[in-house]
Protein backbone atom coordinates (compact mmCIF):
# COMPACT_ATOMS: atom_id res chain seq x y z
CA UNK A 1 0.00 0.00 0.00
CA UNK A 2 1.24 3.47 -0.85
CA UNK A 3 0.25 6.69 0.91
CA UNK A 4 1.40 9.69 -1.09
CA UNK A 5 1.69 13.24 0.18
CA UNK A 6 3.51 16.21 -1.30
CA UNK A 7 6.98 15.46 0.06
CA UNK A 8 6.51 12.09 1.64
CA UNK A 9 5.50 8.60 0.62
CA UNK A 10 4.59 5.83 3.02
CA UNK A 11 5.09 2.32 1.70
CA UNK A 12 3.40 -0.42 3.72
CA UNK A 13 4.02 -4.16 3.44
CA UNK A 14 7.10 -3.85 1.26
CA UNK A 15 9.16 -6.97 0.74
CA UNK A 16 12.64 -5.86 -0.22
CA UNK A 17 14.63 -2.73 -0.98
CA UNK A 18 16.45 -2.93 -4.25
CA UNK A 19 17.96 0.54 -4.69
CA UNK A 20 18.46 3.45 -2.36
CA UNK A 21 20.01 6.57 -3.78
CA UNK A 22 19.27 10.26 -3.41
CA UNK A 23 17.52 10.33 -6.82
CA UNK A 24 15.93 6.88 -7.01
CA UNK A 25 14.33 4.39 -4.66
CA UNK A 26 13.25 0.95 -5.73
CA UNK A 27 11.55 -1.76 -3.76
CA UNK A 28 9.73 -5.01 -4.33
CA UNK A 29 6.12 -5.25 -3.31
CA UNK A 30 3.39 -7.77 -4.23
CA UNK A 31 5.49 -9.25 -7.00
CA UNK A 32 5.89 -5.77 -8.48
CA UNK A 33 8.82 -3.42 -8.44
CA UNK A 34 8.05 0.14 -7.49
CA UNK A 35 10.45 2.76 -8.73
CA UNK A 36 10.28 6.23 -7.17
CA UNK A 37 12.30 9.01 -8.73
CA UNK A 38 13.02 12.49 -7.46
CA UNK A 39 15.56 14.61 -5.58
CA UNK A 40 17.04 14.35 -2.07
CA UNK A 41 15.26 11.08 -1.35
CA UNK A 42 15.85 9.95 2.24
CA UNK A 43 14.35 7.39 4.56
CA UNK A 44 12.47 9.11 7.35
CA UNK A 45 11.25 5.94 8.98
CA UNK A 46 12.14 2.32 8.35
CA UNK A 47 10.72 -0.76 10.05
CA UNK A 48 10.10 -4.38 9.26
CA UNK A 49 7.11 -3.70 7.00
CA UNK A 50 6.95 0.09 6.56
CA UNK A 51 9.11 2.73 4.92
CA UNK A 52 8.49 6.45 4.89
CA UNK A 53 10.39 8.40 2.25
CA UNK A 54 11.02 12.14 2.24
CA UNK A 55 12.12 14.18 -0.75
CA UNK A 56 10.99 15.94 -3.88
CA UNK A 57 9.36 13.18 -5.93
CA UNK A 58 8.87 13.38 -9.66
CA UNK A 59 7.53 9.93 -10.66
CA UNK A 60 6.33 6.59 -9.34
CA UNK A 61 6.53 3.67 -11.75
CA UNK A 62 5.06 0.20 -11.16
CA UNK A 63 6.64 -2.54 -13.26
Amino acid sequence: MLCIQKNRILIKHYQLIITLESTIFECKMNQQIISIKGKNIEIRYYSQDEIMLMGEFTSIIFS
Binding site: R44, Y45, Y46, S47, Q48
Partner: protein, 302 residues
Protein backbone atom coordinates in the same frame (compact mmCIF):
# COMPACT_ATOMS: atom_id res chain seq x y z
CA UNK B 1 5.87 7.69 20.76
CA UNK B 2 9.39 6.73 21.69
CA UNK B 3 10.97 7.99 24.86
CA UNK B 4 14.53 8.02 23.62
CA UNK B 5 16.81 7.35 20.67
CA UNK B 6 20.36 6.21 20.01
CA UNK B 7 22.20 8.08 17.29
CA UNK B 8 24.25 5.71 15.14
CA UNK B 9 26.74 6.34 12.35
CA UNK B 10 27.81 3.42 10.16
CA UNK B 11 30.22 3.00 7.32
CA UNK B 12 29.04 0.85 4.46
CA UNK B 13 29.26 0.72 0.70
CA UNK B 14 26.06 -1.29 0.42
CA UNK B 15 23.26 0.38 2.31
CA UNK B 16 20.64 -1.88 0.74
CA UNK B 17 22.25 -4.97 2.26
CA UNK B 18 22.41 -3.22 5.59
CA UNK B 19 18.69 -2.37 5.39
CA UNK B 20 17.96 -5.98 4.49
CA UNK B 21 19.86 -7.06 7.60
CA UNK B 22 17.97 -4.50 9.65
CA UNK B 23 14.63 -5.80 8.41
CA UNK B 24 15.69 -9.31 9.34
CA UNK B 25 16.49 -8.21 12.89
CA UNK B 26 13.26 -6.15 13.04
CA UNK B 27 15.13 -2.98 13.91
CA UNK B 28 13.34 0.34 13.33
CA UNK B 29 15.29 3.25 11.89
CA UNK B 30 14.48 6.94 11.87
CA UNK B 31 15.95 9.74 9.78
CA UNK B 32 18.33 7.67 7.69
CA UNK B 33 20.68 10.22 6.23
CA UNK B 34 23.73 9.86 4.01
CA UNK B 35 26.64 11.85 5.46
CA UNK B 36 29.10 11.14 2.64
CA UNK B 37 29.86 8.40 0.12
CA UNK B 38 30.32 5.69 2.77
CA UNK B 39 28.82 7.01 5.97
CA UNK B 40 25.17 6.92 6.98
CA UNK B 41 23.53 8.16 10.18
CA UNK B 42 20.17 7.27 11.72
CA UNK B 43 18.31 7.04 15.01
CA UNK B 44 17.15 3.84 16.69
CA UNK B 45 14.68 3.64 19.61
CA UNK B 46 16.47 2.98 22.90
CA UNK B 47 14.16 0.10 23.77
CA UNK B 48 15.65 -1.75 20.78
CA UNK B 49 19.17 -1.40 22.16
CA UNK B 50 19.49 -5.17 22.55
CA UNK B 51 19.13 -5.47 18.75
CA UNK B 52 21.58 -2.62 18.24
CA UNK B 53 24.09 -4.45 20.43
CA UNK B 54 23.53 -7.76 18.69
CA UNK B 55 24.19 -6.07 15.31
CA UNK B 56 27.33 -4.38 16.77
CA UNK B 57 26.20 -0.92 15.71
CA UNK B 58 28.28 1.88 17.22
CA UNK B 59 26.16 4.31 19.30
CA UNK B 60 27.48 7.88 18.97
CA UNK B 61 25.11 9.50 21.42
CA UNK B 62 21.71 9.06 23.00
CA UNK B 63 18.85 11.44 23.55
CA UNK B 64 15.51 11.39 25.36
CA UNK B 65 14.04 10.58 28.71
CA UNK B 66 14.93 6.86 28.68
CA UNK B 67 18.57 7.77 28.10
CA UNK B 68 18.61 9.92 31.25
CA UNK B 69 16.78 7.21 33.17
CA UNK B 70 19.46 4.70 32.19
CA UNK B 71 22.18 7.22 33.08
CA UNK B 72 21.12 7.44 36.73
CA UNK B 73 21.60 3.72 37.16
CA UNK B 74 25.23 3.85 36.09
CA UNK B 75 28.23 4.42 38.38
CA UNK B 76 28.81 6.94 39.96
CA UNK B 77 25.35 8.44 39.36
CA UNK B 78 23.82 5.44 41.10
CA UNK B 79 25.33 6.71 44.38
CA UNK B 80 23.53 10.02 44.04
CA UNK B 81 20.37 8.22 43.00
CA UNK B 82 20.49 6.02 46.08
CA UNK B 83 21.26 9.01 48.28
CA UNK B 84 18.32 10.88 46.82
CA UNK B 85 15.95 7.94 47.21
CA UNK B 86 17.09 7.32 50.77
CA UNK B 87 16.67 10.99 51.61
CA UNK B 88 13.25 11.14 50.07
CA UNK B 89 11.74 7.83 51.11
CA UNK B 90 13.75 6.22 53.90
CA UNK B 91 15.00 9.00 56.18
CA UNK B 92 11.54 10.47 56.88
CA UNK B 93 10.62 7.18 58.50
CA UNK B 94 13.22 7.65 61.23
CA UNK B 95 13.73 10.01 64.12
CA UNK B 96 17.10 11.65 64.22
CA UNK B 97 16.60 14.61 66.52
CA UNK B 98 14.73 15.70 69.64
CA UNK B 99 13.56 19.18 70.43
CA UNK B 100 12.79 19.99 74.01
CA UNK B 101 10.91 23.18 74.70
CA UNK B 102 10.80 24.26 78.31
CA UNK B 103 12.29 26.79 80.66
CA UNK B 104 13.92 24.51 83.27
CA UNK B 105 17.46 23.70 82.22
CA UNK B 106 17.85 20.82 84.72
CA UNK B 107 14.69 19.16 83.44
CA UNK B 108 15.80 19.80 79.86
CA UNK B 109 19.10 18.00 80.47
CA UNK B 110 17.39 15.14 82.25
CA UNK B 111 14.83 14.82 79.45
CA UNK B 112 17.61 14.81 76.87
CA UNK B 113 19.34 11.95 78.70
CA UNK B 114 16.07 10.03 79.02
CA UNK B 115 15.26 10.41 75.36
CA UNK B 116 18.78 9.40 74.35
CA UNK B 117 18.40 6.27 76.45
CA UNK B 118 14.91 5.36 75.22
CA UNK B 119 15.12 6.42 71.58
CA UNK B 120 18.39 5.56 69.92
CA UNK B 121 19.78 7.47 66.95
CA UNK B 122 17.87 6.70 63.73
CA UNK B 123 15.00 5.15 65.65
CA UNK B 124 11.97 4.28 63.51
CA UNK B 125 9.14 6.75 63.92
CA UNK B 126 7.01 6.22 66.99
CA UNK B 127 3.48 4.91 66.69
CA UNK B 128 0.66 6.56 68.61
CA UNK B 129 0.68 3.89 71.38
CA UNK B 130 4.47 4.38 71.71
CA UNK B 131 4.05 8.15 71.97
CA UNK B 132 1.35 7.68 74.59
CA UNK B 133 3.61 5.31 76.51
CA UNK B 134 6.48 7.79 76.37
CA UNK B 135 4.14 10.57 77.46
CA UNK B 136 2.93 8.53 80.44
CA UNK B 137 6.50 7.66 81.40
CA UNK B 138 7.73 11.27 81.25
CA UNK B 139 4.64 12.61 82.96
CA UNK B 140 5.08 10.12 85.81
CA UNK B 141 8.79 10.76 86.16
CA UNK B 142 8.61 14.55 86.10
CA UNK B 143 5.34 14.83 87.95
CA UNK B 144 6.71 17.24 90.54
CA UNK B 145 8.56 19.48 88.06
CA UNK B 146 6.13 19.96 85.20
CA UNK B 147 2.46 20.77 84.79
CA UNK B 148 1.75 20.55 81.07
CA UNK B 149 3.48 18.06 78.80
CA UNK B 150 3.12 17.46 75.09
CA UNK B 151 4.99 14.86 73.04
CA UNK B 152 4.59 14.79 69.26
CA UNK B 153 6.48 14.06 66.06
CA UNK B 154 6.89 16.54 63.29
CA UNK B 155 8.83 15.26 60.31
CA UNK B 156 11.82 13.40 61.70
CA UNK B 157 12.00 15.41 64.90
CA UNK B 158 10.45 14.38 68.19
CA UNK B 159 9.14 17.38 70.06
CA UNK B 160 8.73 17.47 73.83
CA UNK B 161 7.11 20.58 75.25
CA UNK B 162 6.38 21.30 78.88
CA UNK B 163 5.59 24.09 81.28
CA UNK B 164 7.06 24.15 84.78
CA UNK B 165 4.80 23.24 87.68
CA UNK B 166 3.08 26.31 89.06
CA UNK B 167 4.36 25.71 92.60
CA UNK B 168 7.88 26.09 91.21
CA UNK B 169 7.19 29.51 89.82
CA UNK B 170 7.85 32.08 92.47
CA UNK B 171 5.39 34.93 92.36
CA UNK B 172 5.86 37.82 94.68
CA UNK B 173 2.82 40.00 95.05
CA UNK B 174 3.54 43.69 94.93
CA UNK B 175 1.20 46.36 96.17
CA UNK B 176 2.39 49.40 94.25
CA UNK B 177 0.85 51.67 91.64
CA UNK B 178 2.02 51.63 88.07
CA UNK B 179 2.68 55.15 86.83
CA UNK B 180 3.52 56.50 83.37
CA UNK B 181 7.22 57.07 82.86
CA UNK B 182 6.55 59.45 79.94
CA UNK B 183 3.75 61.14 78.01
CA UNK B 184 1.90 59.03 75.50
CA UNK B 185 -1.33 57.70 74.06
CA UNK B 186 -2.40 54.33 75.39
CA UNK B 187 -2.31 51.65 72.71
CA UNK B 188 -2.85 48.41 74.58
CA UNK B 189 -3.40 47.27 78.17
CA UNK B 190 -2.17 43.98 79.50
CA UNK B 191 -3.11 43.96 83.15
CA UNK B 192 -3.13 40.74 85.12
CA UNK B 193 -3.80 42.26 88.53
CA UNK B 194 -4.74 45.72 89.72
CA UNK B 195 -7.25 48.50 89.22
CA UNK B 196 -6.94 49.93 85.70
CA UNK B 197 -7.46 53.69 85.65
CA UNK B 198 -6.85 54.44 81.96
CA UNK B 199 -8.43 53.48 78.64
CA UNK B 200 -7.10 52.72 75.17
CA UNK B 201 -6.45 55.92 73.12
CA UNK B 202 -6.31 58.03 76.29
CA UNK B 203 -3.56 60.63 76.50
CA UNK B 204 -1.52 60.27 79.69
CA UNK B 205 1.19 62.48 81.12
CA UNK B 206 4.37 61.51 82.87
CA UNK B 207 3.58 60.52 86.48
CA UNK B 208 -0.11 59.67 85.89
CA UNK B 209 -1.28 56.55 87.70
CA UNK B 210 -2.10 53.84 85.19
CA UNK B 211 -2.77 50.82 87.41
CA UNK B 212 -3.72 51.43 91.00
CA UNK B 213 -3.21 49.09 93.93
CA UNK B 214 -6.29 50.50 95.66
CA UNK B 215 -9.90 49.68 94.89
CA UNK B 216 -13.11 50.77 96.49
CA UNK B 217 -15.56 48.05 97.35
CA UNK B 218 -19.36 48.35 97.48
CA UNK B 219 -19.19 49.50 101.09
CA UNK B 220 -16.94 52.29 99.88
CA UNK B 221 -13.99 50.91 101.80
CA UNK B 222 -10.57 51.10 100.20
CA UNK B 223 -8.94 47.72 99.70
CA UNK B 224 -5.36 46.97 98.81
CA UNK B 225 -4.83 44.67 95.83
CA UNK B 226 -1.63 43.44 94.16
CA UNK B 227 -0.71 44.90 90.79
CA UNK B 228 0.89 43.30 87.77
CA UNK B 229 0.78 44.30 84.13
CA UNK B 230 2.09 46.41 81.31
CA UNK B 231 0.72 49.35 79.37
CA UNK B 232 1.80 49.92 75.80
CA UNK B 233 1.58 53.45 74.53
CA UNK B 234 2.54 55.56 71.54
CA UNK B 235 5.25 57.97 72.65
CA UNK B 236 6.80 60.79 70.68
CA UNK B 237 10.40 61.81 70.52
CA UNK B 238 12.26 64.47 68.54
CA UNK B 239 15.90 63.85 67.76
CA UNK B 240 18.27 66.26 66.07
CA UNK B 241 21.69 65.71 64.56
CA UNK B 242 24.08 68.05 62.80
CA UNK B 243 27.32 67.94 60.90
CA UNK B 244 29.65 70.65 59.63
CA UNK B 245 31.28 68.48 56.97
CA UNK B 246 29.67 70.28 54.04
CA UNK B 247 31.65 68.46 51.32
CA UNK B 248 30.25 65.08 52.16
CA UNK B 249 27.69 64.03 49.54
CA UNK B 250 25.97 61.45 51.73
CA UNK B 251 25.45 63.85 54.60
CA UNK B 252 21.74 63.05 54.91
CA UNK B 253 22.40 59.32 55.19
CA UNK B 254 25.15 60.01 57.73
CA UNK B 255 22.88 62.18 59.89
CA UNK B 256 20.04 59.66 59.66
CA UNK B 257 22.39 56.90 60.74
CA UNK B 258 23.64 59.07 63.59
CA UNK B 259 20.07 59.62 64.80
CA UNK B 260 19.09 55.99 64.43
CA UNK B 261 22.09 54.92 66.48
CA UNK B 262 20.74 57.03 69.37
CA UNK B 263 17.34 55.32 69.43
CA UNK B 264 16.41 53.38 72.56
CA UNK B 265 16.63 49.61 72.16
CA UNK B 266 13.59 48.46 74.11
CA UNK B 267 11.01 50.17 71.88
CA UNK B 268 9.26 49.41 68.61
CA UNK B 269 9.32 52.14 65.98
CA UNK B 270 5.81 52.88 64.75
CA UNK B 271 6.60 55.89 62.55
CA UNK B 272 9.68 57.79 61.47
CA UNK B 273 9.29 61.25 59.95
CA UNK B 274 11.73 63.89 58.71
CA UNK B 275 10.70 67.20 60.23
CA UNK B 276 13.39 69.38 58.73
CA UNK B 277 16.69 69.17 56.88
CA UNK B 278 18.44 72.55 56.62
CA UNK B 279 21.74 74.32 56.60
CA UNK B 280 21.91 76.42 59.75
CA UNK B 281 25.06 78.42 60.43
CA UNK B 282 27.07 76.40 57.87
CA UNK B 283 25.92 73.15 59.43
CA UNK B 284 23.64 70.51 58.05
CA UNK B 285 20.88 69.91 60.61
CA UNK B 286 18.45 67.00 60.42
CA UNK B 287 15.47 66.89 62.73
CA UNK B 288 13.43 63.70 62.99
CA UNK B 289 10.25 62.77 64.75
CA UNK B 290 9.74 59.26 66.01
CA UNK B 291 6.60 57.54 67.23
CA UNK B 292 7.50 54.62 69.45
CA UNK B 293 5.43 51.83 70.87
CA UNK B 294 6.71 51.05 74.35
CA UNK B 295 5.72 49.96 77.81
CA UNK B 296 5.34 53.16 79.78
CA UNK B 297 4.12 51.59 83.00
CA UNK B 298 6.66 51.47 85.83
CA UNK B 299 6.17 50.77 89.51
CA UNK B 300 5.88 53.85 91.61
CA UNK B 301 8.97 53.32 93.71
CA UNK B 302 11.26 52.23 90.87
Amino acid sequence: MNLGYDYIVIETNDIVSFLKETKKHQLTLFHLHQLDALRYSFYVPIYQRYITSSMHLPIQKSIGLLHYLFLIFKFPQIIFTLAFISTLFILPHYIYDYKITGSLSIVNNQLQKDLNKQIQMMHPKLTYPQINKLYDHLKRKYQSEIDYLNVYQKGSVLHVEYTPASHNQKTVLKYQDYIAKKDGIIRQLDVKQGNVLVKVNQYVKKGDVLISHQIEDTKQQIKMIPTLGSVEAYTYQYIEASSSNVKDKDIFAYLLFKIRSQLPKDVKIDREKVLSYDIIEKKYVLKMQYVFIENIAIREDS
